[in-house]
Symmetry: C3
Subunit: 298 residues, 3 copies
C-alpha cells in the first residue's frame, strides 16, 4: 500500500488508516486486537487512530492491552491519539458538561495518561481534538514543547480545525503541525468548497479524513438514494462496492486525504483498503458529488 | 485593576473600558461627568470609548465639556474615538442615507472635529467605525499618516472589521493597528468560531468588546431563560450578579478582550468592573455557552 | 477611455471589457463581428472576454472567423479566455455530466484548441474558469509554465475563485495571477462583504466583473422595484440610464473592478461604456446598496 509523507524523512503514514473509535464495541479480547492489527499490517495499514475520549475514555486502554500482549507490534505501527474533549462519564466523575481543556498542564497529563493506557513510551502524533474557543495557543505550544522534549510525543497536529485556527496554532510552533483530521465525504463536502482543504493543500498539510462513508446513513437513508444509485452504477464499472466507491471519492482529492477505516471487521477493512486501487474518472467523481448534493456544479 | 498592553511600552488600556455611547441619555451635567470619570479612575478604569456618531454627533461634545471643566483629567485617561459613519440627523443636514465615508480628507476632518468637540489636542486611538465596501486602504493609510505626523492621533485601530478587512488595512500601514472593537458576548458568540478572534489572537491584537451583556435582552427576554438560569447558578458559586457572570464570560477569552461597560450608573459600573476578579472554570464557561446556544459543543 | 494596469509595464486592460459570452446569439456574420470590434475600439474598449465553453464551445470559433477576416485586429485587442468547464453538448460527445478538468495536459490542450478556434498565436490571458475541488495546484502551475514558455499564453488568472483558492494557486507560481473574474453587482454584492474583494485589494489584483447588471432581472422583476426606483432617481441627477447607474455602482469599488459589457448592440455598449464618466456620490452608492439589499448598513 502507498505511503504518504507527512514530514519527508521523518513521518509517513499508510494511505489508509485504521480507526479504533468503536473498538470497545467490537467484542474483542486483547488477543483478537493483536490479530486484527497484524491482519491490517498484512494489508499495509500501519497507521492507527485513537483518542483518549473514545469508548468513554476506555478505548486506549483496550488497545494498550494488545500492545502489552504483543509489544513487538509497537514499532510496526504509528499511533495517533487526541486530547482535549471532556464529557460526563464514569471515568470523569467531576465533569457535568461537555467541554474542552487545552491548558498546558492538562494536555501534558492527558498525553501521559494516553501513554499509560496504551502501554507505550511515545505517541507518534498527538492531535488537539476540537477547536476550542478558550484555546490559548501559547499554552498549547508550551505543552507540545514539553512533551516533545521528554520524548513522549514525536509530532503534533489538530482535528476539526478551521484554517484560521490552524494558522493561529502554527504561528506559535517552530515545527509543522503534521495533519488536520477532518470529516470529509461525498455527503459532507463543505470543506471542499469553504477554503479549508485549499489552505491545507497550499501548505502541503495532509489531512486525515473521518467518516468517509458518511456515518452509515448513506447505506439506507432515503435522502441518499440518488447517491447510492450513482455509486452503484460507477461501482459496476470498477467492480467495486459502495464502500469502495465512497472511499475512492475521498482518495481522489488533491490534498491526498488519508481515509480512516472505522470497521472492526477485517473483511470489510480489506475491501475498503482496496479502494486505493480505484481511480475514479473526473466524470464519475462529479457525478457522485452531484448525486450527493442534488445539483450540478455551475 | 489589571492593565493590558496594546503596544508594549507605548500604549496600555485598563482591562475594563468605560463606554460613553449613551452619555447623552444619562441626564448628566458637565460636573456630573467629571465626577463619573473620577469615580471610574478610582476603580482603575482609565480607558474611555467614544465615537463621533454617538448621541447623533453630540456625545463627544458633552464629554468635552467635562474635560474643559477639569482639564487635569485628560492625561489620566485614554480617549478612543471613531469615525466613518454618517446618518440623517440634525447635525448632518445634507445626509439622507446611512452611509460610510473613509476618504482621506473626511477622516482627517472628522478626527479634527472630534478633537474640537472633546476639548483635547490628541486622541489616544482613532478607530474606523465600520467595514466600508468603498474603503480604499491607501486613502485611509494616508489619513492616518497625516493625523499621526500632526500629533493629533497617537494610534489607530478598527471596529467591526473581519480578519480579511483588517489584513487589508494593516498591509498599507507601517505601524500596527492596535485593536478591533467587536460585539462579543455569550449571546453573540459567532466571532469565537468564525476565525475572527483566532486571527486577532494569532497577531496578538487585543480586541475591545462591545455589548458584552447582549444588549439588555438577556435580562428579560424569554429566549434567554436558560442562559439566565445557568448564569444565576454559576453566580451563586461566585457570589456574583448576572452582569458579572456575563462579563466574566468575555474576560475568559484567550484574546484578552477588553469589555466596554455601557452603564452610566457608578454602582453598576463598580459591580461590572469587579468581574475581573471572577475566574470562571472551564465547565462554567462551557455551561454558559451551551445555555446561550441551546446545544453542546461537539 | 481609462486603462488599468494589471501588471505595470506588461499588461493593461481598458476599464470596460467587451464580453462575448452570447456572441453566438447575436446573429452576426464574421464581417459584423469585425465591425463590432472596430466600433468597440473607437470607444477605447480593447479588452475582449471569451471562454472555450461559451456558445457550447462555439463562441471562440465565431470570434476567430472575424480575426481570420481582419488579422490586423489581433494586436489592437487583448484576448482573455478560459478553460476547465466541460458539459454535455454536441462538441463533447463523451461528456455526460457537468464537470471540471484542470489537469496539466487538459489545460494545455484546451488552450491550444482556443488558439486554433480564435485564429491567433497567443492568448493575452488564460483563466481557470471555476474553482475545482479536484484542482491540483502543482498540475495547474505546470500547465501554465508550459504554455508561457511556448509563447502561447502571456498571463494567467482565475475566475469565480475564493481568496483561499486564489492563494493556493498563487503559492505555486513565480509570477502573479493577473485577475479574478467575479460576479459583482448591486444585486450580487456578497463579495463586497465576505472578504474576497478585500483580499484582492490587499494584493492589488484587479478583478474583472461579470453580470454587473444583475443578469437582466433588475430590469423587470418585481423584487428589484426599489432598486429600479432608486437608480432612476439617481439617474436623473446624472442624466444616466439604469444600465449606466448599475455599471457606475461597480466602477466605484476601490478594487478597480473592470466591468464586462455583455451586450452585442453597439448603441447599448456605447451607453454602458459611458458609465466610466459617472461619479456616484457615496450617498448615491449606499442608497443603491440599501435598495438592492432591503436594509441599511449598520
Amino acid at each position: 500500500m502507498q505511503r504518504v509523507n507527512l514530514i519527508p524523512g521523518q513521518l509517513s503514514f499508510s494511505r489508509m488508516v485504521q480507526g479504533y473509535w468503536r473498538l470497545t464495541d467490537w467484542n474483542m479480547q486483547a488477543q483478537d486486537v493483536v490479530r486484527f492489527v497484524e491482519q491490517g499490517l498484512e494489508l499495509g495499514i500501519t497507521t492507527t487512530d485513537h483518542a483518549d475520549v473514545y469508548g468513554a475514555f476506555s478505548e486506549e486502554g483496550m488497545f494498550g492491552q494488545a500492545l502489552k500482549l504483543a509489544p513487538g507490534l509497537r514499532d510496526k505501527i504509528e499511533i495517533v491519539s487526541k486530547c482535549g474533549i471532556l464529557f460526563p462519564c464514569e471515568r470523569l466523575p467531576d465533569v457535568n458538561v461537555v467541554h474542552y481543556n487545552n491548558e498546558t498542564d492538562y494536555i501534558v497529563s492527558a498525553a501521559e495518561r494516553s501513554l499509560r493506557e496504551l502501554h507505550t513510551d511515545y505517541l507518534d502524533v498527538l492531535l488537539i481534538h476540537r477547536p476550542d474557543p478558550l484555546m490559548d495557543a501559547d499554552a498549547v505550544a508550551e505543552a507540545f514543547s514539553r512533551l516533545q522534549q521528554a520524548g513522549k510525543v514525536k509530532h503534533f497536529g489538530v482535528s476539526n480545525f478551521s484554517a484560521a485556527k490552524f494558522a493561529l496554532l502554527q504561528s506559535r510552533l517552530d515545527f509543522p503541525l503534521v495533519t488536520n483530521q477532518l470529516e470529509i465525504s461525498a455527503v459532507h463536502s463543505d470543506y471542499l468548497f469553504d477554503g479549508n482543504l485549499d489552505y491545507l493543500q497550499q501548505h502541503r498539510v495532509v489531512p486525515m479524513a473521518w467518516s468517509c462513508l458518511g456515518g452509515g446513513g448513506v447505506f439506507h437513508d432515503f435522502q441518499y438514494k440518488a447517491l447510492r444509485d450513482c455509486a452503484a452504477s460507477i461501482g459496476e464499472q470498477h467492480n467495486a462496492s459502495l464502500d469502495q466507491v465512497l472511499m475512492a471519492f475521498v482518495l481522489a482529492l488533491p490534498c491526498q486525504a488519508l481515509p480512516i477505516i472505522g470497521s472492526g471487521n477485517i473483511e470489510r477493512v480489506r475491501q475498503q483498503a482496496a479502494a486505493v486501487d480505484i481511480q475514479l474518472t473526473r466524470q464519475q467523481w462529479f457525478s457522485l458529488l452531484e448525486a450527493a448534493r442534488g445539483y450540478t456544479v455551475p
